[in-house]
């Protein structure tokens, strides 16, 4: 019974891990064109909209650690702090958003993802030879592809996690806010 209470959290963690694996495989094939896709906001959408604050924060933090350990970032990490921040922003706005996703959610995802990628680029650019202008075209294409993935898969991924949560956990969840 105790474990059943944590099923939505486990669903969120496992779904994030599977999505991360999917992105890893996609990026493996995209490396032929030296492109890399990142969709950090996709990982915090379900935890922020459907889990309690603490559980959502835990999922975001662990997912951030998972991503930072796979990428050549500093020891302080980037996603370890970025994902909880994105979670906090989305959680604060969740009363105004549809829990099942929708146009408002997609817009929020697009904006927050774009900002996160720009911050990452700003942090990494000083180490790049020739500065930002040397690889602007490739960078824009990468960001565009990332935004496109979010547009196409954002609501689907959220819906998938919600359905999985319901399959394994039929009782009414006290941690969820009523649907707007």
């Amino acid at each position: 019974m105790h474990l059943r209470r944590h099923i939505p959290l486990l669903v969120a963690l496992i779904a994030n891990k599977v999505l991360w694996l999917f992105l890893t495989e996609l990026n493996h094939y995209l490396s032929l064109w030296s492109l890399y896709i990142l969709t950090p906001t996709l990982f915090v959408l379900y935890p922020a909209l459907n889990l309690s604050y603490r559980k959502g924060l835990l999922v975001s933090f662990l997912t951030g650690l998972l991503q930072d350990s796979a990428l050549p970032l500093s020891s302080n990490g980037f996603f370890t702090l970025a994902l909880p921040t994105l979670h906090l922003i989305t959680f604060r706005l969740r009363d105004k958003l549809h829990r099942e996703g929708g146009l408002d959610t997609v817009l929020l995802l697009q904006v927050t993802n774009l900002i996160t990628l720009l911050v990452l680029t700003t942090l990494l650019s000083p180490s790049q030879l020739g500065g930002l202008s040397a690889h602007l075209l490739a960078l824009l294409l990468q960001i565009l592809l990332s935004q496109l993935i979010i547009l196409v898969a954002g609501n689907y991924f959220l819906g998938l996690q919600r359905r999985l949560g319901k399959v394994f956990f039929k009782e009414v969840r006290d941690e969820e806010v009523p649907a707007t």
């Binding site: 891990k17 694996l21 890893t24 495989e25 990026n27 493996h28 995209l30 490396s31 032929l32 064109w33 030296s34 492109l35 890399y36 924060l57 933090f61 650690l65 998972l66 930072d68 350990s69 796979a70 990428l71 050549p72 020891s75 302080n76 990490g77 370890t80 702090l81 909880p84 990452l120 680029t121 990494l124 180490s127 790049q128 030879l129 020739g130 040397a134 690889h135 602007l136 075209l137 490739a138 960078l139 294409l141 990468q142």
Partner: protein, 268 residues
């Protein structure tokens, strides 16, 4: 609160957490890689017998040519050792070639690296050189239990000594992310003023053993145009690396052998 706790955590603890999460993920990456290999295996099974026979015949011819080269190399190596002993020269670095499959590549504007399916268990250490049939790939950046991260020669933070083919003057190569999609590029610096290259007569860059990471003479890339450097003492230009660098599925890691041993390197 979480931010503060994470910020105050000592760096060694953060590194340990990071390593733990990497090791936790490594089996899933390996599973993906094995899955791709299996996919290729089944795709290969669908080939017609006549295709396989012709491919086998081509490979047999190549094997024959390579066997002759290996014999020639062995006799040259023995000759070299004899000369070194005669002249009392310090021993040249020798390497064991550890062949490793690529689990996945992470190449974009933010980073250029790949993860391979060999690690500490196979004697690989940080800083080992990584090569493939077409030349230099990069260096081992980080080693884990059964996986290693390879930083590619195109990575902006990558630097290595090199020479122009047929010359001895050392110069250095730096990775560079260029706006063109899928074209591995870099920058060559400290090229002597006397060196002249043109698109019709490009300069081929080869590795040098000066950095103690790669043996002499491995192909790195070509340079077609050189311009005056800002200090006016040297020339510099854009390096074009082989395009297959972004499409590698197997690489060989150069593990240095102890200088006292005179055994020939293991062939793969």
């Amino acid at each position: 609160m979480l931010f503060l706790a994470w910020a105050l955590l000592p760096i060694p603890v953060k590194k340990a957490v990071r390593n733990g999460f990497h090791e936790f993920q490594a089996p899933s990456w390996e599973a993906l890689s094995w899955g791709r290999d299996l996919q290729n295996f089944w795709a290969g099974r669908t080939n017609r017998h006549s295709e396989l026979i012709s491919q086998g015949r081509d490979l047999a011819r190549l094997n024959g040519a390579f066997r002759l080269q290996v014999m020639e190399n062995d006799s040259l190596r023995q000759e070299l050792q004899r000369m070194e002993a005669l002249l009392d020269l310090p021993p040249r670095p020798r390497y064991r070639y550890e062949v490793a499959r690529v689990t996945h590549r992470q190449i974009g504007t933010w980073w250029h690296e790949m993860v391979v399916r060999k690690g500490r268990d196979d004697g690989i250490t940080e800083g080992n050189g990584v090569v493939y049939a077409g030349g230099v790939v990069g260096k081992v950046q980080k080693v884990y239990e059964g996986t290693s991260i390879v930083r590619l020669v195109t990575s902006p933070g990558f630097r290595m000594p090199a020479t122009l083919h047929g010359q001895t003057q050392p110069l250095f190569i730096q990775g560079m992310q260029h706006g063109s999609i899928g074209k591995p590029t870099g920058r060559v610096r400290n090229v002597p003023i006397s060196s002249n290259v043109t698109p019709e007569n490009p300069g081929y860059l080869v590795s040098t053993s000066l950095g103690q990471v790669f043996p002499n003479g491995l192909h790195i890339g070509k340079v077609e145009h050189l311009e005056q450097s800002s200090n006016g003492l040297f020339r510099e230009g854009k390096v074009q690396f082989p395009s297959e660098l972004y499409n590698l599925n197997e690489v060989a890691i150069l593990v240095p052998l102890a200088s006292t041993t005179n055994t020939a390197p293991k062939r793969n």
